[in-house]
Symmetry: C2
Subunit: 213 residues, 2 copies
């Protein structure tokens, strides 16, 4: 199972980072193939044949249909390589982890996707306003959920990164990129700072996969 | 566990229907409380204290923190009440089910949310164009995934409704509402027609929870 796994990813795609980080945590041997989704149209047909959404990432395990959607990939990784786990605690803690993950995955990231902000407006400044609006809304919900939960762990719900952090950290990276003031979300800001010291997070960081200019 | 469960929902919210249907499949005894999220602002504070996103649905199990995000709720239901399952097959089939579910959950529904279409444009016709665009894109991906998979089951991946169908059917209901031509997506159209004969789907259908005018 550890052989013949290929990850199609894009360095700056936040959903790609989720899966890069997840593969790193699980220690799953794989090959990475960069896909420039923002690049020339002629690069796309081969990729879209693998992942009909055209979005990244996509995981291909030899002999099986390609897997799209980062959450589906991460849940598959969890089932296939259970340790170290992306979850902790009882069913309610796992539900909280998934609620936090979905606050980013369905509540935030889809709205800041480039094809969404571009369809909203051709104006670059308006695109940035739109993205900031949804990122701030999403991180506000995430922060409130952490406050209500009340624990003060280094990652969202424990000392280890969970599915919630795999979604949060790439979202905060995007927030920084679009000029969101992270001091409004102090728990998220502090978890992000801690993540930047975590070897599995560092090894999967976008900057490591940025193409040479 | 079967006691003290409350579902906060809105009759026409597609994410609410997912969970109503899931509770019906699992046969979990619960109380339903309608929340009119589109109604007067003063109705909201009490609900937002339960679910900081302000979105529906939210499941409250006595003695525990409220659970928001329909996918997190459905995965919790699956872990807590394993049978009948929302999944089938091996880890790859479960990954396909989750990929299909996320094609709706993160790839489609967030973009047709009323607060998103309203922020995009104050013009009602433009709001409808926006929603139709994203619904057609999402159902197109769902349809292609089913075609590539190639099975011809009554629901998306088997004869029983899975997490994929719990997401698909409410999305097709919304598509019909906004005038999407479902003949462009024949597999999705046929699965929807079959779902309308499924007792658990009928029992959770929005029309059953529509308030009297």
């Amino acid at each position: 199972m550890n052989q013949g796994i290929t990850l199609y990813h894009y360095w700056r795609s936040s959903s790609s980072w989720r899966v890069r980080w997840g593969l790193e945590i699980k220690g799953v041997k794989h090959v990475k193939v960069p896909v420039n989704i923002l690049g020339a149209e002629e690069k796309l047909p081969g990729y879209v044949a693998k992942n009909p959404s055209g979005y990244l990432p996509c995981l291909v395990v030899e002999g099986h249909q390609p897997l799209g959607e980062s959450i589906a990939i991460l849940e598959w990784l969890e089932e296939t390589f259970p340790q170290p786990s992306f979850f902790s605690g009882d069913a309610f803690e796992r539900a909280l982890i998934r609620q936090l993950a979905e606050t980013v995955n369905s509540g935030t990231q889809p709205l800041q996707n480039p094809d969404v902000s571009k369809l909203h407006s051709p104006d670059k400044d308006e695109q940035t306003r739109w993205m900031k609006h949804w990122i701030e809304r999403g991180l506000g919900v995430f922060e409130t959920l952490l406050e209500k939960d009340g624990r003060r762990t280094k990652f969202s719900v424990s000392g280890q990164p969970s599915l919630a952090d795999l979604c949060l950290i790439p979202q905060v990276y995007a927030a920084n990129r679009f000029g969101v003031d992270m001091d409004k979300f102090p728990r998220c800001r502090d978890i992000y700072a801690h993540a930047m010291t975590e070897p599995s997070c560092i090894a999967s960081h976008p900057d490591r996969f940025k193409p040479a200019p």
